[in-house]
């Protein structure tokens, strides 16, 4: 009797502590006749506006002998058009008090311009100019070739553990183009030619391969008119847009390797194959990463960093990708500790998820963490614009900006256990030890 009441109290406690802050973000969406998808979101809290264009092309659309090409091309998108001379693109935005940038990932290339809201038309003219009639020349190509190579040196070659992404993906994929990363290799950056860039532009930089989002201090009707004016006349592509068809076959045996790096402390990386973003198991694995390493009270951090003190830091990351992806675990060894110690403790914690219990309030905790980060993501107009585009392009449903949280909340303890058992297996993983070069010499 006593026990029953206690149990009932616990349930009430757990239920009451689930956060219920809701986001209800309104937007309108439609297609232009040329196939470009448009999403508009009004937010008048500050007199600024953000324009985002996502092209559905990334490093996975590259040829294996032209890795880094999509990213290199992204740099050339700032070169100008017949109406915007070379060197003016950045200046026009900056003179208007705006900011602009772009990034390239495995699946997409994203361009964004955030402006004072009275400069929206300028932003639209500029973005539509480079979608319609980008102009590149050999001077721009050669300069950016140098810049891109320095970007690689700065971000990867001259940074401790900088090659982790590249090493992990190249070891984990044998067939699928995720086996190389967006930054690419020097060899192929050197070989890219003008004609190849023109061809790439014609093949992928098409309105029917793009999603345009305008978010911020806008008038919906006037913005629609402006969009017709600047983007409506851009011709639709006629050919089929190339999407890689390769399916990575299931991994049959563990892959294990050692990487030497300019580091002081060894590290271990474990990468398990996992399903693509948006699948039911993807949500469960995302919640699992929070259970394992979301904050100081998470299982791995509590054990490896606080109790055993064998790791300086541990992190688990589910890679959000369009095609089947990787669940990454990463730990840097504390001074005098070996990657073996870290691997053993991680393994024990994974086994505990597979066979042990998860307390009610532990599940509530990771739900609440998920919910806060979901709300935080949507605090700036640029952040919201990127999210809306992403949900449309990769999930076919922009309204997930409001409802995706439900999919995380639907994950049960049983789901967490099941995905751990199913995906976090020895044969499904790649294990890399990062070892200091100096130790080896």
């Amino acid at each position: 009797m006593y026990k029953k009441i206690f149990f009932a109290l616990l349930l009430v406690f757990a239920a009451r502590n689930v956060l219920n802050a809701q986001v209800n973000l309104k937007f309108v969406e439609y297609n232009l006749p040329n196939g470009m998808h448009v999403i508009l979101h009004q937010d008048k809290s500050a007199p600024i506006v953000s324009q985002v264009v996502v092209y559905h092309v990334g490093s996975k659309n590259e040829n294996p002998d032209r890795t880094g090409f999509a990213h290199f091309f992204e740099h050339l998108m700032f070169e100008g058009s017949p109406n915007i001379p070379r060197g003016e693109f950045f200046k026009m935005v900056q003179n208007a008090g705006g900011e602009l940038n772009a990034f390239t990932s495995f699946d997409k290339t994203v361009y964004f311009i955030t402006m004072p809201s009275n400069q929206l038309e300028l932003a639209m003219w500029m973005e539509s100019e480079r979608m319609l009639q980008l102009k590149i020349d050999s001077i721009g190509i050669e300069t950016q070739r140098g810049v891109v190579k320095e970007e690689r040196r700065q971000g990867i070659d001259n940074r401790p553990y900088g090659s982790i992404l590249e090493q992990t993906f190249s070891h984990s994929y044998k067939v699928h183009p995720y086996r190389w990363t967006p930054i690419g290799s020097f060899q192929y950056i050197d070989q890219a030619t003008y004609d190849e860039f023109r061809q790439f532009y014609k093949s992928f930089y098409l309105p029917n391969n793009a999603c345009l989002v305008i978010a911020g201090d806008i008038d919906i009707d006037k913005t629609k008119e402006m969009i017709n004016k600047y983007y409506g006349g851009i011709p639709k592509g006629t050919g089929e847009i190339f999407r890689p068809k390769e399916v990575e076959p299931p991994q049959k045996a563990e892959v294990r390797d050692t990487v030497l790096d300019n580091i002081q402390l060894p590290a271990v990386i474990e990468a398990y194959h996992m399903p693509a973003q948006g699948t039911k198991d993807y949500y469960a694995l995302s919640m699992l990463t929070t259970l394992l390493s979301g904050g100081e009270s998470s299982r791995l951090t509590k054990r490896l960093v606080d109790k055993e003190k064998i790791a300086l830091a541990v992190q688990s990351i589910p890679f959000d990708l369009e095609d089947p992806s990787l669940f990454l675990l990463f730990g840097i060894a504390n001074f005098g500790k070996s990657p073996k110690d870290i691997e053993a403790s991680i393994q024990e914690e994974i086994e505990k998820v597979k066979t042990g219990t998860i307390a009610d309030n532990e599940l509530t905790k990771i739900r609440n963490q998920q919910e806060t980060s979901f709300i935080e993501k949507n605090s700036s107009v640029q952040g919201k614009a990127i999210e809306l585009a992403n949900y449309h392009v990769f999930f076919g449903d922009a309204n997930l900006i409001n409802s995706e949280i439900d999919k995380f909340m639907a994950v049960t303890k049983e789901d967490l256990r099941r995905v751990a058992q199913h995906y976090l297996t020895e044969k499904n993983r790649t294990v890399l030890y990062y070892i200091p070069k100096t130790k080896v010499q």
Partner: protein, 476 residues
């Protein structure tokens, strides 16, 4: 007739709906400048001296809180650099009521984020929470700030981890370049010359009692301002502030002293060897100016032209014209006292000497000739028109208010920004360039592969390079 009208209407309609009827050769003109509503700041205070500033922001169901104490690592004891930093780490490692893990668990259970850190000038404790959890979040937050217990076992772990982190930093050319540069410009007796994280030696010299003393002397309500931005009103918040911080006792505050900065009369070249480095990290600069300078606005405009933006001279030259780097920039780190002026880039090893030449050319250029009216207008436009973006989210607004607090700026400071930028002239830019840039007495610090770069940079006319290790000590 009716039919005709109908057709005409149809034609007009179809014209209106046709796509892409636009003269693309014309750059669109902006609409009238939108009105920027600056945050309305509400004030309150507790009898113990704790000041409260609040801005209501009801777009998201969150509350952003930042407590600013007016002292930081400048109050580290001699030989014990790192005390402020470690104190900030340790306050969340246990209180009279909670262990380290309970603190983490309580915060993570309600999805709240708490961070405590110190700069040289100040100490910051931030809290981000959903409004519905504000009471619970404040309970942990005030517990951490008011009742830290500095447990021995957590201290052993934190200290060891911190020392390991310092060791790791020596692999990071960016960190090594920044630290060695600061040490050379200010000397190790000046607070700005010491890394706030400390060094191996200084951290090893720190005992738990040092942190306790630092906490007692610096975490004080009478030097602090609590900045609240979010989905709350002052009426709602004040009883909570009173509950959590009302009994906090005020104490006398120790104001840090800053020793004089050693002057140099010519340019000096320093190299730190990083064999097989993929790039050279270049730092060029000297002592700059304090935030309260009367030349703040001309300096902002001047640096926007020189190296503060993507389209500034330095980046357009080294990146967009030469392709030497992924990005090059300059800036004045304005602090309570004069922070450094610094021009910097990571460049391809083979062009290390050429990059230094281009940097020096741009620095001299600002002093030797007037900027054009076009450049001036461009810089002013970009600064003035970007003001609105600085107030977009609660985090932005909180950051803006933090600056008011740190540098003792008036509430109407933001209202005068536009006119202050607009006033700056070509002559002002030339004047502040000559006054605050010293191209003939620079400290040039380069972390890179000495075998590849030394001969080249020693031909630049700055004499022989002095070779230093990652701690800034001379190598023989």
């Amino acid at each position: 007739m009716k039919v005709n009208l109908f057709y005409m209407g149809f034609l007009l309609l179809s014209f209106a709906l046709s796509y892409g009827q636009v003269d693309r050769t014309k750059k669109p003109e902006p609409q009238p400048t939108p009105k920027l509503t600056l945050p309305s700041i509400q004030h309150a205070a507790l009898p113990n001296g704790l000041k409260v500033m609040l801005v209501e922001h009801h777009e998201l169901p969150t509350v952003q809180i930042q407590l600013v104490f007016q002292t930081g690592a400048a109050n580290d004891l001699a030989g014990k650099a790192g005390v402020a930093n470690l104190t900030a780490q340790m306050v969340r490692e246990g209180t009279a009521r909670r262990t380290s893990l309970q603190i983490a668990d309580d915060l993570e259970f309600i999805g709240a984020n708490l961070n405590v850190n110190s700069s040289t000038d100040a100490t910051f404790a931030s809290l981000l929470t959903l409004k519905e959890q504000l009471v619970a979040a404040l309970d942990v937050y005030s517990d951490v700030l008011r009742n830290p217990s500095f447990p021995e076992n957590e201290w052993n772990r934190v200290k060891k981890t911190h020392l390991t982190g310092l060791m790791q930093q020596k692999d990071q050319p960016v960190v090594v370049a920044n630290n060695v540069f600061a040490g050379l410009v200010y000397g190790s007796n000046h607070p700005y010359g010491r890394p706030t994280e400390g060094t191996d030696a200084s951290v090893n010299a720190i005992a738990l009692d040092d942190l306790k003393s630092f906490y007692q002397e610096n975490y004080l309500p009478n030097t602090a301002t609590l900045i609240v931005v979010g989905d709350v009103t002052l009426k709602e918040v004040m009883p909570m502030v009173e509950n959590n911080f009302g009994a906090w006792k005020s104490e006398a505050v120790v104001t840090p002293t800053f020793s004089a900065v050693p002057r140099i009369d010519s340019t000096h070249l320093y190299l730190i060897d990083k064999p097989q480095a993929a790039q050279s990290e270049i730092r060029i600069g000297h002592v700059g100016v304090a935030r309260n300078t009367e030349d703040y606005f001309p300096l902002q405009v001047m640096n926007a032209i020189l190296g503060g933006q993507f389209t500034s001279r330095i980046n357009l030259n080294l990146r967009e014209s030469k392709g030497y780097t992924y990005g090059a920039r300059s800036g004045f780190a304005m602090r309570k006292e004069a922070g450094p002026f610094l021009a910097q880039a990571g460049v391809k090893s083979a062009v290390t000497d050429s990059s230094v030449i281009e940097f020096m050319k741009e620095l001299r250029g600002m002093c030797d000739a007037d900027v054009t009216q076009k450049e001036l207008d461009f810089a002013k436009n970009s600064l003035v028109r970007a003001i609105a973006q600085g107030f977009e989210t609660p985090a932005h607004i909180s950051g803006q208010l933090t600056n008011l607090v740190l540098y003792n700026l008036p509430d109407d400071y933001f209202n005068t920004l536009v006119q202050n930028y607009e006033k700056v002239t070509v002559a002002d830019v030339r004047r502040v360039s000559q006054k605050y840039l010293h191209p003939t007495s620079m400290n040039i610090v380069i972390v890179g592969d000495i075998a590849l770069i030394k001969a080249g940079v020693e031909k630049l006319g700055f004499g022989k390079a002095m070779v230093l290790d990652a701690d800034g000590k001379k190598v023989n």
